[in-house]
């Protein structure tokens, strides 16, 4: 138990640090690389929960395909280093307190509900970890929402093609 707890804290710290670095980096590529680290750390957390399939797919889809596209576009546009502007007054006096307040509310909500959250039962763990169970749910129980989502993605792809064609 302690071993997995240590791994959890290492991965969580890595994810948070990379997320902070994603915001603070001035070069788009460095930000994208930080985001990749966040994705991989999240995959590690999924693996820790026994969801091997979700972890592998997280890396393949988000760490691999999506982020490669990000990096590719940044490299293709040859985006340079961003210049840091002086913080606006609104951000300093309005933004920071609001952000702190929001994180405080979220933290309080989590702290309050931590005792009441349902503990994962053996059956629930089985549905998460087994690829077969997952695909059964996806293609049998929730087949209509799933197909609707893919239809939505298809529409988005068609829209992208139409927009690209218009420029020619």
């Amino acid at each position: 138990m302690t071993g997995s707890l240590i791994i959890f804290f290492v991965l969580a710290a890595l994810a948070v640090l990379a997320a902070v670095s994603l915001i603070l980096q001035r070069h788009p590529i460095h930000s994208a690389l930080s985001l990749i680290v966040v994705m991989v750390a999240l995959a590690g957390l999924y693996l820790l929960m026994g969801a091997e399939f979700v972890a592998a797919v997280q890396i393949i889809v988000y760490g691999g395909a999506v982020m490669v596209l990000f990096v590719f576009v940044i490299m293709l546009l040859n985006a340079g280093e961003e210049e840091r502007t002086n913080f606006s007054k609104l951000a300093t006096f309005g933004g920071i307190p609001l952000a702190l307040g929001l994180s405080g509310i979220i933290a309080a909500a989590i702290a309050r509900s931590s005792g009441q959250l349902p503990t994962p039962t053996a059956a629930a763990e089985g549905t998460l970890s087994s690829t077969r169970q997952l695909s059964m749910m996806l293609f049998k129980d929730f087949v209509y929402p799933f197909e609707l989502t893919s239809f939505l993605i298809l529409v988005a792809i068609l829209g992208a093609i139409v927009l690209a064609q218009r420029e020619n």
């Binding site: 590529i29 990749i36 091997e52 393949i60 395909a65 490669v68 596209l69």
Partner: protein, 410 residues
């Protein structure tokens, strides 16, 4: 002490396996470069390396020393993090991808059963794809961080190429997954075991034990073409096209950092060959029917004459050093063959790995053969081929396979 060993066996055994695997892979990589240079030289009617050691056998060692001792200049204006990270990423991911590959059936030794590989994950195929999906960053980052237009073009080409061919690579495997009904590489191999039908049980031919099989020749052709593109090898080596881009993404790398890209490339060649073997060619299974037990002596039958030939060739070799080294190597090979003949237990143990590595060797040779034969694609041809031919054909294979399996079920 024994208690300690038993308690931490889950940690010690994998560590030993990792050490053996890394050592073996680096050695195989080194001699793969030797083999590649020799084979291509003979294709082009040259001798290839033959100065350092007999038949140039010590050339990889000399290359290694050269790589370590060479000056490693860093060009001006590079992005330091990316520049240093890229070669490490390439090599580390390539070697990691071998960790989920089962090289043979489970080993039973000293009352302890362990899998013939490092990790036995139940979604090992996906893990392998996940690691290869991250592999593109090494190349893309190297190209971008080098502050060189040729490198950048190489990196861009590589990322575009990998996005395009990864789709076809993943889809070409779906047929195999439909047949096996499992994502574990070990179970995929075990599913291809069809006793007395031998090699017909492999997914390539598709006579599975339960009848639910369909020939995956289309899937294999798509897989192998896409895999060559994924490993950036000829005829898809546009990221390092030397006639256009100097050396592509690794133009600005020298010394050991260049060597890391090189080792990474060869290691991913090995990983892809292992994957092709497992998915389509029955992994560690023998191509002969299970009842032909005399084929178990095949390793000896190959090793002993080969060892004798090396001794015979070595005695007449031009240099004194060769006349000492080659007969020594030949004696070791002959003795190994004889030992396998005499000790059936050892012989049974190496049957699986023998067939596995024999098949992987065929694929590696094919890689080299192709490099000696085919010219490079043009970039638009590469993209056209990937999206307009390879992708539809692999989707057609999925439809065909699932339709057949559905028909068999009813």
């Amino acid at each position: 002490m024994n208690e300690f060993l038993a308690k931490y066996a889950f940690l010690i055994v994998p560590l030993i396996k990792v050490a053996i695997l890394v050592f073996a892979v680096l050695t195989i990589d080194a001699y793969l470069t030797w083999l590649e240079r020799k084979v291509i030289a003979h294709i082009q009617a040259r001798w290839g390396p033959h100065r350092v050691g007999p038949h140039g056998l010590l050339q990889p060692l000399a290359d290694g020393i050269k790589f370590i001792l060479k000056e490693d200049p860093m060009p001006a204006g590079v992005d330091k993090i990316g520049y240093f990270l890229a070669p490490f990423l390439t090599l580390a991911l390539a070697v990691t991808s071998l960790s989920v590959i089962p090289f043979g059936p489970d080993i039973k030794a000293f009352g302890y059963v362990t899998n013939f590989g490092i990790a036995d994950v139940n979604v090992s195929l996906l893990v392998l794809f996940a690691i290869t999906a991250l592999g593109v960053y090494g190349v893309a980052l190297a190209g971008w961080a080098s502050n060189n237009k040729y490198s950048l073009l190489g990196g861009l080409r590589s990322s575009a190429q990998m996005i395009s061919y990864e789709l076809a690579l993943t889809l070409s495997v779906v047929g195999v997954l439909l047949i096996a009904g499992d994502l574990s590489l070990k179970h995929i191999v075990e599913h291809q075991d069809n006793g007395n039908l031998g090699l017909l049980g492999w997914n390539l031919f598709g006579f599975a034990k339960d009848g639910a099989g369909f020939t995956q020749i289309i899937g294999f052709v798509c897989f192998f073409i896409a895999a060559i593109a994924e490993t950036n090898r000829v005829p898809f080596d546009l990221p390092e096209a030397e006639s256009e881009l100097v050396a592509g993404f690794h133009t600005e790398y020298a010394s050991m950092k260049f060597a890391m890209f090189f080792i990474g490339e060869y290691t991913s060649m090995i990983a892809v060959s292992c994957l092709a073997t497992i998915l389509f060619f029955g992994g560690w299974l023998s191509p002969f029917p299970a009842s032909w037990t005399f084929t178990h002596y095949l390793p000896s039958v190959i090793l002993i004459p080969f060892g004798l030939w090396v001794i015979f060739d070595g005695i007449r070799y031009e240099t004194i050093f060769g006349r000492i080294l080659l007969p020594g190597v030949g004696t070791v090979l002959t003795a190994a063959g004889a030992a396998l003949f005499l000790f059936p237990a050892a012989n049974d143990l190496i049957q699986g790995p023998f067939w596995f590595f024999a098949k992987v060797f065929v694929f590696l040779f094919f890689y080299i053969w192709m490099r000696g034969t085919l010219p490079r694609f043009r970039y638009d041809q590469l993209m056209d081929f990937g999206w307009k031919i390879l992708l539809p054909v692999s989707i057609a294979n999925v439809v065909l396979t699932s339709a057949f399996l559905l028909w068999r079920m009813h």
